[in-house]
């Protein structure tokens, strides 16, 4: 009898505990932050280095420095790229997020729409030294134009054309290509003996978007109308997508196997000498991690349709990079802005961007000679002259998914030897456009 009573009491207690534990969620939704916990911050850093461990080694000493200066302890979590957006979405819906976080700068407008992030109005920018400390192009990728930015730039990157010096020398190519026609001509010279002229990342949706967006710009297409409606089937957009896929389908300077690449295999191919060129954003750290020496590769601005990159209105890169944002629900709003101020200060900008091989979006930090190496100067100039921000619309995330998938499917067609025609490209983009939410 007693045993039964104990069991019953135990069962009830357990149920109560379970119920209580489940009700522990639910954040405040007033959304201006508070200063309830002024001594701690949680920080989600995006994975920038060659591994999560590398990131911890880069960031921890800086966080310790911040703690020494302010007495605020920052709890660091490095989040892999593949999980970051979903983690942010979950944190947004549950209200249980970090205080400060890194976001891919292309997500700025989408996350801004969710209302999860602290808007950077004039008053908040004051706290980190003012808006004009930042490079214009980087500010262009912090949210919908005309609204207060949802984040501030932290690391900047840009696309460039990386080439294998030895492969070029062996083939007698003396001048790296500057236009797409030259890329194809050079690529054909270099595609032989099981090696390919150019590497692409056909199943990587984001990368597909970055590439066709730039080509779209070069053909005068924007993928979104001025009032923010999806516009994927304009002549320029179709031309752009076809031109990119034709590098494999028509010019055949891209190996068919690239169609299934999505995990940066194109970079390992390049490092191993299997491809002679690759279009990538800020790849030097990855090449080093793959065992390629700095003097084995060269870098020039990414190609344009004709003329030279940076002349006239020719775009040859999207504005790539990482922004830093503060969660509205933070319980340490003052500490969070202090931390952003610290991370975007000149000194930290130099340390962090050097460590990651990126460019500081802060003007005064860019003057450091470390960012004037041949490799980085190209990226810096591209950002200053010829980079455009991806569409700053709340539907940017959907656009990456549906158009990125369309390009992936077209590459699969090309790899399987099926024809890629203007009609087939248009049909895929048509389908992508219909999948976008109706506005």
């Amino acid at each position: 009898m007693r045993r039964i009573r104990v069991a019953a009491v135990g069962a009830v207690t357990l149920s109560l505990v379970l119920g209580a534990a489940a009700c522990g969620g639910g954040g405040s939704t007033d959304g201006s932050g508070s200063n309830e916990q002024p001594k701690t911050l949680t920080y989600w850093a995006s994975n920038q280095g060659s591994s999560l461990e590398v990131d911890k080694q880069v960031l921890q000493p800086e966080l310790d420095k911040f703690e020494k200066q302010t007495g605020i302890k920052v709890k660091l979590e490095v989040v892999p790229w593949g999980d970051l957006l979903n983690r942010i979405l979950t944190a947004t819906t549950s209200g249980q997020g970090p205080d400060v976080l890194n976001i891919g700068n292309t997500w700025s407008a989408s996350l801004q729409a969710s209302g999860a992030l602290l808007p950077w109005d004039g008053k908040n920018f004051e706290k980190i030294g003012g808006k004009d400390r930042f490079v214009e192009s980087a500010l262009g990728s912090t949210g919908v134009q005309g609204q207060d930015p949802a984040a501030v730039p932290l690391y900047s990157m840009a696309y460039a054309l990386y080439y294998n010096k030895k492969a070029f020398a062996d083939a007698g190519v003396t001048k790296p290509p500057t236009t797409w026609d030259e890329v194809i001509a050079t690529g054909k010279q270099l595609t032989k003996d099981g090696k390919a002229g150019l590497g692409v990342e056909g199943s990587n949706l984001s990368n597909n978007i970055h590439q066709v967006f730039v080509l779209g710009k070069q053909h005068g297409a924007d993928f979104f109308t001025a009032d923010g409606k999806a516009d994927f089937t304009s002549d320029g957009a179709v031309k752009a997508v076809k031109q990119y896929v034709d590098l494999m389908a028509d010019a055949q300077i891209v190996a068919k196997g690239n169609a299934e690449y999505s995990q940066n295999q194109s970079l390992s191919d390049f490092a191993k000498g299997k491809t002679a060129m690759v279009l990538w954003q800020t790849a030097s750290a990855t090449f080093a991690a793959q065992g390629m020496k700095e003097d084995e590769w060269g870098v020039v601005p990414a190609p344009v349709q004709s003329g030279a990159p940076g002349t006239g209105t020719s775009t040859n890169s999207m504005v790539a990079g990482i922004n830093m944002a503060v969660f509205k629900n933070t319980k340490n709003i003052d500490g969070a802005t202090k931390f952003v101020n610290f991370m975007t200060g000149d000194e930290e900008q130099k340390i962090l961007n050097k460590a990651y091989g990126s460019i500081p979006p802060v003007k005064s930090a860019q003057t450091d000679p470390a960012f004037n190496t041949p490799g980085l100067a190209v990226l810096r100039d591209t950002l200053a002259k010829s980079a455009s921000a991806l569409p700053q619309v709340p539907e940017e995330s959907q656009f990456e998914t549906v158009v990125g998938t369309a390009v992936k499917e077209l590459f699969a067609d090309a790899a399987a030897g099926r024809p890629v025609t203007t009609e087939s490209v248009k049909a895929k983009l048509e389908k992508a456009q219909q999948q976008m939410p109706k506005k």
Binding site: A7, T93, K408, E409, Q434
Partner: protein, 331 residues
């Protein structure tokens, strides 16, 4: 799954020599006895509520809302959209509905083949393992390895093996055996369906094997001996004794395999990433993509609710047809 509570006849069972059974506790004692099973079930019920039922109800509610990135933060107050999400989902002339329908058929086809093969291989292996022979224990252990491995690790290994340029599969069939003119793609395009099937069967058949082995243990050997005396061969024994005796086990096994396979998310997600090729676009991935990749949680929830209804109907019909001629108590 029913629990068997002791039959209550309304009369107290009279026990002899019961010291201390004072009449004053009669009523409370009875109450206690009636409520005890419920009390003991309470933790499980609470957990079930928290983990399954409440989220399910929320999902159903969300399917009637316009939950996009604009309302994520305060999703409880997202605007109601009535049946819009459902209308979009079942409009089979529009791309969203078309894609869902083709994903649904792909999933049905995949489930049919996967469950069929898992059952066939599992059953054959279990019958084969009935005989004692040298090394049976080791073989049995080896058979269970796929079931014991962590799914993610196993499937990612398969994904490496199926890579076109550096994968083991093409290395064998193209480089060594020369069966194909050019190395085929396994992770994009039409072959992705085969890839998915291979990995799914590899992962699933050991479970069938395990359950079948357990089922076979319960068939008395005497029946086989008697049949053998009557001149029944091996095939006849399998057809007339083994399979009919395994019917109840099979019913549960096939149902469980069907549900697991139909809803399998891990395998395609790890193999193909966030956008599976059309040939292997299983419904679970499709719903994930509609929700998390295009930030349209309302539509994703509507798809989930329709899937739930479909699975409920199928499961209900299945149980209805298979439990005919059996008493309800051993379901």
């Amino acid at each position: 799954m029913t629990t068997t509570a002791p039959p209550r006849t309304g009369k107290r069972t009279v026990r002899k020599n019961q010291p201390g059974a004072a009449p004053r506790t009669r009523r409370s004692g009875r109450l206690r006895r009636i409520s005890l099973p419920y009390l003991l079930l309470l933790p499980a019920l609470v957990l079930e509520l928290l983990v399954h039922l409440i989220p399910m109800v929320i999902g159903i509610v969300v399917s009637f809302k316009e939950l996009t990135q604009f309302y994520l933060r305060d999703w409880g107050n997202a605007p109601w959209s009535g049946l819009d999400n459902y209308a979009l989902t079942v409009d089979f002339d529009a791309p969203v509905g078309q894609a869902l329908l083709s994903s649904f058929f792909t999933t049905c086809l995949f489930t049919f083949f996967s469950v069929g093969l898992c059952w066939l291989i599992g059953t054959a292996a279990a019958i084969f393992m009935q005989e004692t022979f040298k090394g049976r224990g080791i073989l049995r252990t080896i058979f269970l390895v796929p079931y014991a491995l962590p799914v993610y690790a196993a499937v990612i290994t398969w994904a490496f093996m199926f890579q076109r340029d550096n994968g083991l599969v093409n290395h064998v069939i193209h480089d060594q055996l020369g069966l194909t003119d050019s190395p085929p793609f396994w992770l994009i395009g039409d072959n992705a369906f085969v890839t998915l099937l291979v990995v799914s069967v590899w992962k699933g058949w050991p479970f069938a094997f395990l359950i079948m082995m357990a089922g076979l243990q319960n068939i008395p050997r005497e029946i086989y001996e008697a049949a053998a005396l009557d001149g029944a061969g091996v095939w006849q024994q399998i057809r007339r004794i083994t399979l009919p005796s395994l019917r109840p086990v099979n019913q549960v096994l096939i149902l469980v395999l069907f549900l697991w396979t139909f809803n399998d998310f891990n395998t395609p997600f790890v193999l193909f990433g966030k956008s599976a090729p059309a040939s292997a676009d299983l419904i679970s991935i499709h719903i994930y993509q509609s929700s998390f990749q295009t930030w349209n949680f309302g539509t994703g929830s509507a798809m989930s609710v329709l899937l739930l209804l479909f699975l409920l109907v199928v499961t209900g019909l299945y149980l209805l047809f298979t439990s005919r001629g059996r008493s309800a108590t051993d379901a």
